[in-house]
């Protein structure tokens, strides 16, 4: 039941953003379409069951957004520096990191956040192992790399999705 309601709310927010209007007609039509689509697809939308809406989780979400935006800006500055410096200072390589996250949404958000931040990019997921292509590899050790890449995001994602 929870997943139907959450998908409905997501679709409704998306519809209202697109229409950018709050009139009654828009609301009613959007609600009808959202109910239809949630009924159509929710046999396979189990990931919405993993989202929790406790105050702690919402706080973690906000913190995650801040951390992520900071990392995004830092990533782009460092990439810009690398690209524009004449010697092209890169040490590319594929490293392995481990994550403690078990929920599917959490792992997806983590992989996407890794792809969008400092010179790292998720190449493959296999169980708890993430294989990451890194522009600036320092060592091949799993533990060190986990600490460097994953842990800042994982802390909040653990709170958000468990």
């Amino acid at each position: 039941m929870k997943k139907y309601i959450l998908l409905f709310i997501t679709l409704m927010i998306f519809w209202l953003l697109l229409n950018s209007s709050l009139s009654l007609e828009v609301f009613v039509i959007g609600a009808g379409v959202s109910i239809l689509i949630s009924l159509m697809f929710c046999s396979k939308c189990d990931i919405f069951n993993e989202i929790s809406l406790t105050p702690k989780a919402i706080y973690a979400t906000l913190m995650f957004i801040f951390v992520f935006l900071g990392a995004l800006i830092k990533a782009n500055l460092s990439i810009t520096k690398r690209v524009l410096s004449p010697s092209l200072p890169i040490n590319p390589g594929i490293v392995k990191v481990k994550t403690k996250l078990t929920s599917k949404v959490g792992r997806m958000v983590l992989a996407n956040a890794i792809t969008l931040t400092p010179g790292t990019f998720t190449l493959e997921i296999d169980g708890e192992d993430f294989f990451i292509h890194w522009v600036d590899v320092k060592s091949g050790e799993t533990e060190e790399n986990t600490k460097e890449i994953v842990s800042s995001f994982e802390k909040y994602l653990k709170l958000m999705y468990g």
Partner: protein
């Protein structure tokens, strides 16, 4: 003389012929009578903010019916020809396993893409877009479903039901216009359909309803083409 020289000479000759035409061409500054009529009276007569839509659905509605028929014929012919190869199809095929990120994100993205398609065809009379565009967006959602799940299969019964029902409703609304508006096939001024203020979502009479069914029909047809193509794939 080499082939390349010949091509160069022919191109030059063509340029000599076409350049005077280009020189003496001046685009028309004023609209043709019909275009001017649409601009002057379109919003008033149909109530649709998007003039293109009022032309496509109301003034030239019969042409749209023809276009939908052509699309239907194309889809039928494709499924007809591809069904010949079904006999030598291998019962199972092996594919590299799909990445977990894709299977997870599809659960969120596909409903959103469908919602976007619905937004495009429901708002066809207000913003650019309409039945054909919305239908194409919905079909691209279907591509994502095929990509994320190798076992996914379109239900042909559902597709056929959506496709034929929306086609019939489209024609019926047109016929209703003809009956109630003394002979105007596909007129949008049918009593019972909302005529709100121009620019609100319930306005322009039957246009949003027609576009909704048009969008469902186009989406079903394009998805059917894709489904038939995917089903005819086999790996030895």
């Amino acid at each position: 003389m080499g082939k390349k020289t010949m091509i160069a000479l022919i191109t030059l000759a063509l340029a000599f012929v076409i350049y005077p035409l280009y020189q003496s061409y001046n685009g028309s500054e004023t609209l043709k009578d019909v275009g001017q009529y649409y601009i002057d009276n379109g919003v008033e007569e149909t109530g649709a903010q998007n003039l293109v839509t009022s032309v496509v659905v109301t003034y030239r509605g019969l042409d749209t019916l023809g276009e939908v028929t052509i699309l239907f014929l194309a889809a039928s012919v494709i499924s007809f020809f591809l069904s010949f190869s079904k006999n030598d199809r291998i019962k199972s095929r092996s594919i590299r396993s799909v990445t977990e990120i894709l299977t997870t994100s599809t659960q969120v993205l596909v409903p959103m893409i469908f919602m976007f398609g619905v937004y495009i065809f429901v708002n066809g009379h207000l913003t650019p877009g309409g039945g054909f565009q919305g239908g194409a967006v919905i079909a691209s959602g279907i591509i994502l479903m095929f990509l994320s799940n190798p076992r996914f299969k379109l239900s042909h019964k559902v597709i056929q039901f959506v496709e034929s029902t929306s086609g019939i409703v489209f024609v019926l609304i047109g016929a209703a216009g003809a009956l109630m508006m003394d002979g105007d096939f596909l007129s949008n001024k049918i009593p019972g359909f909302g005529f709100g203020e121009v620019g609100s979502i319930i306005s322009a009479g039957a246009i949003p309803v027609i576009y909704t069914f048009l969008g469902l029909k186009v989406g079903a047809e394009l998805s059917n083409v894709l489904g038939v193509f995917v089903e005819s794939q086999s790996e030895k």
